[in-house]
Amino acid sequence: MYLYVDSDTWVHRLHPLVRLLGMAAVFVSAFVAERPLGQLPILALLAVLLRWTGALGNIYRLRHLFVLIFVMTTLIWTLFYGPDGAPPLLAWGPITVSRTAPWFALGMGLKLDAFLASGILFLSVTRIEEFAYALTRLGLPYKVGFAMTMAFRLVPVFVDAALNVVQAQRCRGLDFERGNLWVRALRYVPVMVPVFMGALRRADQMAMTLDARGFQTRAPRTVLEPYTTSPVDALVTLALLGGVTVYLWLWMHASLALR
């Protein structure tokens, strides 16, 4: 139902804030690296951690998304990177592909996949409750943090409901394959309406359940599992900050740029 992988690795045992920091560090580092080569250390680290934490199964489940993002991003940026002063590689009508374009596009494709892999790793090792806790430690009000994480809880539920509705409507002859894009889009109305109606009903019931468990109580909250920090958290935090510092330093000295 969720991406979370129930395991007891040292990554799982890190303080939720450190795990959140780790995801942020990957995002920043990947963001500032323009060269494809700059993405490789990040992707290699993610691959090792994904393997270590048993989260490779989640990557496999979403493999089509990885391929789609990589192929589409690389293709689009190659074609539309535009003239940048570098010698053209080829020209086709109004489209000119410079020598830099394929490298930039490759870097963008890898960058987006690194973002995605990093998010998957985070959700594979972090319970939704831990995510909410980390957000509150960053100063977000408890209810706001809870509401944000609720989205993660409900996505699989709604996807499941949507699959059911699609089957029910296919039984009544609804064909999602025929017609132009507009016609096909309209055919999703018989799917969206039952899913949204179900979501509204569930939200209503869930609000009652939350209140019945004291969600609105003003008493100070306690936690079942107190999150304590360990020397490993300190070491990992230092390593993450060191890594980001290196990337930012390289970025400021234009070592990660193509031009």
Binding site: M1, Y2, Y4, D6, R127, I128, E129, M150, R153, P156, V157, A161, N164, V165, Q167, A168, Q169, R170, C171, R172, G173, L174, D175, V189, P190, V191, V193, P194, M197, G198, R201, R202, D204, Q205, M206, A207, M208, T209, L210, D211, A212, R213, G214, F215, Q216, T217, A219, P220, R221, T222, V223, L224, P226
Partner: protein, 560 residues
């Protein structure tokens, strides 16, 4: 047991904001500490409204006009909120899916305690106690989404128990569960009762009322009966009128004018003699014809999970009324979806009138084999009832003139004639279920498969739905009904198929299946009391009327 009122209602009336008529009318009632009270009545009688008033969901979440006084443990609920009553009144609803939102069982139970600031040591102790009480000890790290229906409902109960409420209100907690899940919930209720808590249970299953301290019956927002179950359950005619299914033994007792209530199968058997064994209903002869649907050595596995179907072969003859039964997870729905091509088996062949279903387009199969999903809300989307029924016809390219004709006929067949312009979302659950059936009937399929068509309906609506199917069957339609309700199977189906662990363990006349109590009980399916009684008499009767025909009204030692 102390007899102080735990809950007291005085002149309570409630009218929903958009409603013209009150849902509760001048209700006055005391529930005493330690009492186990069952509340029954037809849909719309006011049961759920009453339950929601007790934890302030009404009027907080469903506004309207609330008059009268409600007192819980001596405290007036005027101005109180649901949160104020957390830890005082626990309300368990039938929708267990919407009561769970954590990522593991431990976090789910702890959530409420965390909100209320329970110290960590106490939290861990209460967590262990609650999970043990509902039989989920050892499930702490399991994902709630991966639990069975019965386990999910027990988890929802544990999450409330951890808050240590003095009063527990169960609003149809077993409605969406299979027989095993229901049995598990009733076991939990028995354990809770032993702890001397105050329990109000709203149920459609009359069996649940037998061991209660009191039985309340509601009609039109009023409590019309309040007394010992043994007394209230005897009035069979009144129960029928109030939309409550009488127990088989009470129906037999009423028909044979027994002077006192008999609630034990053996005692009832001792009072009966079979006057005319030749009147004993014989097993139905299987119709001899080419099957309309057939499975040959079908196997199916989902991408993640176990094999759902293992070497299943069967044949469904034209005009049969098949009951497909078995525990949740036994493969019934997978089998049904293979029958109409929604799922394609990895091995084996599904045949529709002899043709391999794999060679036929889904549209062609859908037109011949209708599949009504369990939840009508998974298909209803249109702005009007008429458009909802016409939707499938238009998808199949039926001419507009014929669309309106067929729509009218289908709605008339399900008892919704003249409702073409109504908003389908404003219909009751039973009407929405019949509307879903109508949307397939309009296609005039040869076979109609229905997945638990009576789930969530009260007794009158269940009867209405099944009588509708009986009429369609009488007109020659082939029906396959997935159901967990024993009396529905017994009264309407004539052919039984029993699934267990992805295998078809019985396929034959229903009477032969119901003759094998041990086989059915090994699949957690309990035959109706009348069938168990008939077995004591050496025959297999499926309904009370059948048994009465055989015993002919003779009674031994009945004093009548």
């Amino acid at each position: 047991m102390t007899r102080d009122p735990a809950i007291s209602l005085r002149g309570v009336s409630f009218t929903y904001r958009s409603a013209a008529e009150p849902a509760l009318r001048d209700v006055s009632l005391d529930l005493h500490r330690g009492e186990f009270v069952v509340l029954m009545g037809a849909t719309g009688a006011g049961k759920s409204t009453l339950a929601k008033c007790l934890n302030c969901s009404i009027p907080q979440f469903q506004p309207g006009r609330l008059d009268g006084a409600i007192t819980v443990l001596g405290r007036s609920l005027a101005g109180a909120t649901v949160s104020d009553l957390a830890g005082v009144v626990g309300l368990v609803s039938q929708d267990f899916e919407a009561q769970l939102f954590a990522t593991n069982v431990r976090q789910e139970v702890a959530f409420g305690m965390e909100q209320r600031g329970v110290p960590r040591e106490a939290m861990q102790r209460r967590l262990a106690e609650a999970l043990t009480l509902v039989g989920l000890g050892g499930f702490e790290s399991r994902d709630p989404g991966a639990l069975s229906g019965g386990e999910k409902q027990r988890l929802a109960i544990a999450a409330l128990l951890a808050l240590q409420p003095e009063i527990l209100v169960f609003d149809e907690p077993t409605t969406d569960l299979d027989p095993l899940g229901k049995a598990q919930i009733f076991e939990v209720l028995a354990a809770l009762r032993a702890r001397d808590g105050t329990i109000l249970l709203i149920e459609h299953e009359t069996d649940a009322a037998v061991h209660a301290d009191r039985l309340l019956l509601m009609e039109g927002g009023r409590i019309v009966a309040d007394g010992a179950p043994a007394r209230e359950l005897r009035d069979v005619a009144r129960l029928e009128r109030l939309g409550v299914r009488p127990l088989d033994l009470d129906r037999i007792g009423a028909a044979l004018h027994w002077p006192e209530r008999v609630d034990d199968i053996d005692a009832a058997a001792a009072r009966l003699v079979v006057r005319d064994p030749s009147a004993s209903p014989a097993a139905a002869d299987p119709p001899a014809a080419a099957p309309v649907l057939a499975l040959e050595h079908v196997e199916f596995s989902y991408p993640i999970g176990q094999r759902a179907l293992a070497d299943v072969s069967l044949a469904i003859q034209p005009g049969e009324f098949v009951a497909l039964i078995g525990q949740n997870g036994s493969g019934k729905t997978t089998l049904a979806k293979c029958l109409n091509g929604l799922l394609r088996p990895q091995r084996g062949v599904v045949r529709l009138r002899g043709a391999d279903l794999g060679d036929l387009p889904l549209n062609r199969v859908a037109a011949e084999v209708g599949y009504v999903f369990q939840n009508p809300d998974h298909q209803i989307f249109a702005a009007s009832v008429g458009d909802e029924v016409a939707f499938a016809l238009r998808n199949f390219g039926i001419a507009p003139s014929e669309v309106s004709e067929r729509t009218r006929a289908a709605l008339a067949a399900v008892g919704l004639a003249g409702s073409e312009s109504l908003d389908p979302f404003l219909l009751g659950k039973g009407q929405r279920q019949r509307l879903a059936v109508a949307s397939f009937l309009a296609l005039e399929p040869a076979v109609l498969i229905l997945d638990e068509p009576t789930t969530g309906l009260d007794y009158p609506e269940q009867r209405r739905m099944m009588d509708l199917l009986a009429q369609l069957h009488a007109r020659g339609m082939t029906l396959v009904v997935i159901t967990h309700t024993p009396w529905v199977v017994a009264q309407y189906a004539r052919h039984g198929m029993l699934m267990r662990g992805g295998r078809l363990v019985f396929d034959g006349p229903l009477r032969d299946l119901f003759a094998d109590e041990a086989l059915l009980e090994s699949c957690h399916f309990r035959v109706p009391d009348v069938t168990r009684l008939s077995h004591r008499l050496g025959l297999t009767a499926l309904t009370v009327d059948e048994l009465l025909t055989v015993v002919g009204g003779a009674a031994r030692g009945a004093g009548a």
